[in-house]
Structures are given as structure tokens and as C-alpha cells.
Amino acid sequence: MRRLRPETRWAYVFLLPWLIGLVIFQAGPMVASLVLSFTEYDLIGSPEFAGTANYARMAEDPKVARAIGNTVFYTLLHVPLAIALALALALVLNRITGRAAGAFRTIFYLPSMTPYVAVGVLFLFLLNGQAGMVNQFLGLFGIEGPQWTTDPDWVLPGIVVMSLWNLGSTTIILFAALRNVPRELSEAAMIDGAGTWQRFRAVTLPMISSALFFVVIINTITSLQMFDQVYTMFFGNQTAQQSYGDAALFYVVYLFQQAFQFLNMGYASALAWGLFLVIAAITLVQVKVGNRLVYYEAEERA
């Protein structure tokens, strides 16, 4: 066996706390949930082996289909919009120089500091179809706004609107990438007669493609795991749970309901593994596709 170099050994020593945490708090529960997903378990009694019954049930459960539909719909709307908007914000931030720059960067990041629960409650007020400020604003232009919080066709778009309020992290990552684009490249292109759009398209975008790729993956994953705000808005108390039906039923919300409302912990574990596999698959596809589109500075492109 090849002997580890002393530096490597020390590296592992320093990694140890994290590794222990990984095994106990991440890998452990995941393995436990995998085992539970093949059992019937109500949290009170002991788990009983149920074979693949939970997975079979998933395939038949109309609510799972609805929850997947809602979650995918949200993800498809949220990810492109969030990244386009965040990129626009980052480009604006990148133009601001001098003393004001720090202040603006802070302001753009502020929404990320707000607890999700508070955001959910706030937007329930803002989006209210009868008295909310969003519709009052639309009213200024003579538009009669939809019933964002109660019309099943508008609940998901309303949640997307809410999600676009908080772009702090994505903006910061893209902004940092923009700062790293060497000015010479842009200047050289300008001398060659490239216009603003051409420079953005041919210089800036390829240079930040690795950051873009990263935020696409991260945003996709968090969208598929959407829970906090939606739960606060539409499932947070008994009245809320009675009032909105499945219009805002996201996958993780349904998982939570099965686990803690209906005490089907085995089924909830199966749902969790279903989600894990789907996310793993999507991420794999994204990495494969990304490898073709993303430019890393270290590599030579053919």
C-alpha cells in the first residue's frame, strides 16, 4: 500500500471533525431512511418490513403526481427567471464603482438575511388578491390582478414572484465571477469593433460560464426541495391547511405531511429517496451537458 505523505495525513486529521459529522449526521440518517423506506413505520411502534410497497404506492398516488407537477412547474419558471434577473442585477452592480458600491452590494444581499418564514408571511399579505400591494400596483396600470393566493391557477406563479424577491446569493456569485473577467479581453474585443451585446455574448458569458453553471445546479436543487416559504404560506396552521387544497402542494411539503401528519414514516422515507434519485439524475445530466458548454480557464478548448 502506498504510504500517505505527512501533509496528506495531517489534512485528514483536520478533516476528521467534518468526516465524523458526515457519517453521523448525513450518511447515517440516509442509510436509516433507506432501510425505513422498505418498512411500514408510524413513529410509535417498531418498523415492519413491507418490501417495495411504499415505492409501489408512490407510483399510484395521485398526490405524488400533483406534487411533482407543481414542483417541476415551479422549478422550470423559477430557475431561468432567477438566473436572468440575478445576472442583470450583477451586471448593474458591476458598473457601480466608488464608495456607493459597497452600500449597493449590501442592499442587494439584504433580502437573503430575512428568515424564510417571515418572507412567506409577508408575501401572503403582499399577494392577497383583494387587499395586497401587488395588485394595487398592477391596478395603477389598469390591470386587474389575479387572486394570487387563492386561485389554484395563480398560486404557483405567485410563489415564483415571491421567490424572485430574494436573489442575493445568486447575484453575489455571478457578481464575483464578473469581477474576475479580465478587462483586457473586453478591451481587445472593443478594438476589434465588437458592440456591447457581442462583447457580452462572446467574452463575458464564456468567462462566467462556470459560475452560471454552478448557480443553475444549485438553484435547480433548492427549487426541487422548496419547503419553508410554501409551508408557512399555505400549510402553516390548521385553517391554512384546510383552505388551499393541492394548489401549493410541493413535493417536500407532501413528504412532510406523510411523515408527521399521517405518521407514514416509511412512505415518507421512500418519497425522500425518490427525490434524492431524481435530483441526482438531474444533476448528472446537467454536469454532462455543462461539460460541453462551460469553459474553464485552465483547459484548452478545441
Partner: protein, 456 residues
Amino acid sequence: MPHSPVNPARAAASALATVLVATLAACGGVGSGGDQGGERTGGAASLTTMGFGLPDEIAKVRVDAFKKANPGVALQINEGQFDEQAFLSAVAAGNPPDVVYLSRDRIGSYAARGAIQPLDGCLSEQNVPTGDFYPAAQQQVKYDGKWYGVPEFYNSIVLVVNDKAAEDAGVDPADIDTSDWNRLAELAEKMTRTEGGKIERFGFYPKLPEFLPLWAKANGADILSADGRTSHLNDPKVAEALDYANGLVEAQGGWTKLKAFTDTFDYFGEGNPFVKDQIGAMLTEQFVVTAMAGTTPDVAITVLPFKDRQGNPVNNVGGNAWVVPKGAKNPDAACTWIKTMTAADTWIAAARARADKRAQEGKAYTGTYTGNAKADEVIFSEIVKPSGKKAFDDAVKVIRSVQQAGFVVPQSAAATEFKKAWEDAAIRVLQGDQKTADSLGRAQTEAQKAIDEATS
């Protein structure tokens, strides 16, 4: 949106971290399940509660009574609303609170799974006069013939009319009678006010989906058999009732607008929808009325019984109960606690304290509606005095009169799933997703399946 580098497995892991803890702990809990001995630390027993707070004198007086009678018990009240996740995790981890305060309509689900203990032994040892509790409240805390909880409050449903809306519609509020469904529909439309697509006043709020069992009962149908085994959601009379109540909502502006409108209401503040003339009439629990006696004593309302189509009052009652979870460390102290909190004497003392406080503030005391009929008799004959506010004095009489008409949806092993099934069915109809018969048909299938699985 990203907030921290995210592990792709985060959702799975976070939901299931709890599971691992639960599993490990459950192994320890099952073996010690039969242990009934109280845990004694330093010679004194301890008692931990969950789901209960100390918002007012009604709670404080009764807690003080317990403390005074049981000075040796170290009482720890974990204030806050009942949280099913916290509760179940604690039970699964073998470290539950000793006594829990939760909504009575969940008792069946927890009892069937053994998450809470039967209290028959406790009630007989402590000589609790169980006959003092209202029959409907008794029915709601029993499962499979055993007592699993002891009822606390007894909330009745009444019709509250905004006098101004009735007069605008040319009707004497006292003459409104919900037994004639055609006239009620006409009145609802007359009391509604809209301006440019915006709802100004919701004429008659039937409180769907929450009150579907009440509407079904008004139409002569029970949604669940008395033994809790057979769902009757597909009874045509249930469909007829839902169709009618949904029709009321549609005629007044549609669910999406009306629901958004009612979401802006603050029932317990000085700007409640009756003061603001935003409601013509609505079905609601009596605590909305008693709250108004404190916040807006001069509001012009008339409280009436909700009548079925034969003209008899119907009232779907509810409230909280005290239960003892499986694995409670000190079930004896829990039992004493439950007895004290729900005894007639304690309730009467609490009601006196409330009446004194209201008198000091110069406000009317409109009574405390307990699950203990014997306590209520004393409270309403000796403590509640005419306040001079006719609306509220009459309201007290009406609420008292409908208490005997109280009914509950019978307990079932799948109480949670059953409730979810009919709520979702009503929502699908209100949202226009599905026709009434189809929606209730689906609910019937879902509900019956859940009941069969939970009881087998």
C-alpha cells in the same frame, strides 16, 4: 435560491435525520413502555406539559390551583401551540411530556396507534365525575369505548349577523332563519356588496370547507358512521349540502375572491369584520362573539342558532383535550393535573377571576364555555350577569341554548386522514376543480381506504 453550498441529498437527509434519531430512540422506548412509575428527582415528582400556554387568568387560576394542591410537583409548562412534529418526535424518542393539550379531533388517530394512553384507570382512581362533561365532548375524547382524553373548552357554532347588513337588505336580523335554504340564498346575495370586481361585504359566509360536517348535518346527513368505521361522504345528502353552500359562495363573487377577502380579516381585533361592515352574516365558533364583547362591545350584531332544514338548531362542537402520551414519566401527576384543570370547582374559580377582571375594566363578561356542564351551570347562573349590552346578553342565551344540540364527527382510527379527505373534497369543489359528486366520491374512496388500513 442558494444560501449555502447545498448537498444534493439535503432534503433527504434533513427530513430523515429526525428519523434516525427516532428509530434509535424507539428501540429504547418500546421496552420501557409498561413502566408506570413516576420519575422522582430529589424527592419531588416533575410534570411537563406541551401545547398549553398561560395567556390569561382562565389558565393561570387553574394552574395556581394545581400548584397549591401539589406543592411537591416541579411543574414545567412548555408554552406554545401543539406541534405534531415535536410531539411525535418526543414520543418516538421515548422522552415525551407528561401531559399534552391538543385538539380533540385528532385523538382517534393517536389512540389507534398507541401514541396516547387510555385514561380510564386514572379517571376512576381519582373519582373524576365523568358524567359532568357534555355528552358530545365525552364522545369526542373516547375511542374504542375508552377515555383517551379529558375535554377542556366546548366551542359551539352560531350564526352571527351584522345588523346593518340585514337592515340594508330590508330584513330584521332577528328574523333570519337558516332553515329555508332558498330564502337564505336570496338574503346572502342581498347582503353582498361588490365594487368594480372588489368585494366590499361578504353577504353570508358559510365557512367552507371547515364546516362541511355542519352543513351535512343541517341536511340530515352524518359524514361518518357512529362507530367511526364507515365513511358516508358519498351520501347524496352530503353532496346536496356541499352543492348548496358552494352555490352560495359562487353567487356572492366566487371562492378565490371571497377567500382572499376573508384572509384579510382580524376577528379578534378592534377592526373586526363586523365593525368594518365586511361581513353580512357568518357561521362561527362562539369565541369570536365573546372576543367582540371585550374588543368592540358596542358592535351591532345579532347572534342566532344555526338551524337545520327542519328548523332545529345544529351545532358542531369542538375544543381541546388533555391527553397523556405513551411513555409519560409521571402519569400519576398528569392525571391529577387533568383532574384539576377540568374540574367544575377550578373552572368556577377561573370564571370568577375573569368576571372580576372584566368588571374592573368596565367590560361585559360573556361567560366561559367549558366542557364541564356542571361548571357551566354555575358560571351562567351565578357569575355571568346581564351586562346591559343587549346584543351580548342575548348572545349568551343563544349559545347556551345550542349547547345541547352539539354533535361531533365520531372518532376514528384515521381521524386525520378522514378530515383531510373531506376538506380536500370541499376545496376541489370550491376551486371549481371537480364536480361535487365526483369530488366527494374520490374523498369517499380515500377516506374509507385510510380507515380500513388504520383499523385493520
